[in-house]
Symmetry: C4
Subunit: 248 residues, 4 copies
Amino acid sequence: MLRDKNGLSPTNQFVCALILASLLMTILRTEVTVYAGREHLFLIADLMLTGLLAVEYGLRLWVCTENPAYRSRLAYALTPATLIDLLAVLLILFSPLGNQGFLLRLARLARILRLAKLGRFSLAFNAVTQAVGRRAYELWLSLVFSAALLLVSSAFLYLIEGGIQPEAFGSIPRAMWWSVATLTTVGYGDVYPVTAVGRFFGALTAIIGIGLIAMPTGILASAFSEAFQERCLRNSAGADEPMNPPAE
Amino acid sequence: MLRDKNGLSPTNQFVCALILASLLMTILRTEVTVYAGREHLFLIADLMLTGLLAVEYGLRLWVCTENPAYRSRLAYALTPATLIDLLAVLLILFSPLGNQGFLLRLARLARILRLAKLGRFSLAFNAVTQAVGRRAYELWLSLVFSAALLLVSSAFLYLIEGGIQPEAFGSIPRAMWWSVATLTTVGYGDVYPVTAVGRFFGALTAIIGIGLIAMPTGILASAFSEAFQERCLRNSAGADEPMNPPAE
Amino acid sequence: MLRDKNGLSPTNQFVCALILASLLMTILRTEVTVYAGREHLFLIADLMLTGLLAVEYGLRLWVCTENPAYRSRLAYALTPATLIDLLAVLLILFSPLGNQGFLLRLARLARILRLAKLGRFSLAFNAVTQAVGRRAYELWLSLVFSAALLLVSSAFLYLIEGGIQPEAFGSIPRAMWWSVATLTTVGYGDVYPVTAVGRFFGALTAIIGIGLIAMPTGILASAFSEAFQERCLRNSAGADEPMNPPAE
Amino acid sequence: MLRDKNGLSPTNQFVCALILASLLMTILRTEVTVYAGREHLFLIADLMLTGLLAVEYGLRLWVCTENPAYRSRLAYALTPATLIDLLAVLLILFSPLGNQGFLLRLARLARILRLAKLGRFSLAFNAVTQAVGRRAYELWLSLVFSAALLLVSSAFLYLIEGGIQPEAFGSIPRAMWWSVATLTTVGYGDVYPVTAVGRFFGALTAIIGIGLIAMPTGILASAFSEAFQERCLRNSAGADEPMNPPAE
């Protein structure tokens, strides 16, 4: 009923905002130039956010019995997601000044991602996961190809440059760091081949890397297209059923 | 009537050229090795360009009443775009030597972009914006995924390398700079993990980054394809309507 | 019969795991900080893995006559893949401490890749290779374009920056190292133009490089889509044949 | 008649090989560590290659009258491509030791590219150029967007980091070098923002840069798909015409 254009209910939007604010504070607490001297501001904000999230936790526990998926309040309270919420709230209430519950606080991110499945995003979420799922084998295969290429190019660079740059290419695991940076076209430039032969194989690796990027992109593109095609196919084969509106 | 093959009228082409020249001069003025010693050339060129743009501004104000969208000359003169034009002209006329109206001058760029909607570009413009708009949720979703991954990879690198490289990974916001550079495959190489564990997670981030590039690309590709498909669908379903010419 | 959800028989999965373990050990042996002091662990693990692979080799040789593709046990034993297996086993048994058979051990990777053709991956494998094969000429053509662009941009940078940075741009082959890194968007940053003209052409190269990445990606995407389209075409043309299940 | 599987006649293949050898020698001549001490080998190879290309030039001039496109031998000899061939031959014959005709020699590359239009490549060549041509406006538009983004991000970084890093961001043209490297995801790492605000806008630029890569890729992918779709459309609309073989 009461949904904005994103299709998230006002309550979910508010909870979303609370968690985002909580995440932002967890992130900023780690930066000493921001945190130092502002400990009290962070403490107050943390307690306020945690208080609101505690209330929200209580309310959810109260109404969870309405949802037939949960047999009892305890069953709901023991689901991993709800447990994380409780632990995060308790941790902040009992050690508000520290950032000890660092990872636990970040785990709240999962709840944001779950909210992304609600509202109008759910259609998009399904479209994306369905497309990825439908081509799971093709995508795994391009990962297998990439892994093989990673191994081969690392082995070559290890053989060619291992003696000259032992720090960077002195073993296959070391050469792999260069190889990943090259195949993904990240190219930090902290390590790179210096001999002519090494550069030749390095260039080859970079060029083949383009193919490894093009492959999953092409696979995903065709998977996204397919969803619409099927609709098209269904319509043109059995022409009597009513015309569906276009995908989105 | 009088349109070249780009579909822009000669007047619009001339104005486009004037603004491009004005933009180019604003850019070059910031480079001291070009500007120093050539202040007079820049002054003359600026005054000439501004004079022409002032005339064009006057003419547009004169004929705007022909367009039923504007009730009066004042209403037209107060639209943001027209206001920017006036302010840029006034600013250059009253302080021709300085580059004070720097941002205002650059704001003229907006007018070029508006001209891109005219002529034959309008079809392309509509195709692009429609494709992006139609998959807005999918694109937002891949942005949400990217943000989550950015946060997770920054948190990991902060935990792993924060103690060793406090300058680069000493907080999550700092680690995010590395994380963005890696996920987008830019890879400046100013900061990078140095420990084995850090490099393992760094490599993982780079590989997952490929997926984050492949996802919006695939989504956009399918959206562009869809525009044509729909036409195909329409034709094959109701075969009586006349065959449309191919998309472009 | 006895196949898990990947479609690989338990035997193939076990062999796959053995070879992966063997590859991992070959890789780790090259890293002195891992290998030094653990020679005996590596020796024991190597002998165990090799023993199992030797048994597997024997069993395969025993049952190969069941497969009508091989006339005799000798014919099977002399196929390159089986020869590699035998050589790798013999090499490890006779010089277990060294890493001499380095490349031969890595050649076992080929067997993993062959296993990737089995089970449910075979459909994906066919889809990928068919898509690449079907657009082989387009992909070669984009490689020819890339090579031409590589040559032209290297020649320009050699002419412009050759005198200033002789180490990096002093000849076309040297400039090519920069050119490959730029066109593939790897961008190590070990060499880069420093003059204004050089940077202009460098920027141009980087921008055109985007096109060179977009081209094969687009070609592959359309090839993957096509496989599904053909099915669609077949169904809509001859509508009497039964509806096939969607591609995957 | 006498065509190999690439569809190039043996003569064209031989000429192709000659020109490739000539290009390779022109490239290697620039590298002093290869050329020094081998001047005579290069001289002999150059004269042999040039001799063969001179013969080929003569033969082409002889038979060109068979082709109705050329009225006379002189008309053929004065076409730019033929003129380049003649000049390159003359230049090498009269100054065989130097690399003076450097650019002219490289211009022979054009002939290789022309040969790429022959044989089975011609279909691929048409498919690629047609796809690019059909979406010319969309591709130009994404270039216009990119140029605007380039300008805006350069202006921001100039304002933010211009004072701190005058060498790298002291003017918009200087900041553009960083901006191009970031938007194309090349990321040399020779210049990068160091302030928090600068890094925020830098990260934003890198993320938007992904979109600028995704856009032309998606446009090209849909253009390549479209070629096949049209065929599909034609078949399903007028079902009486015979089934065409699939695209390639």
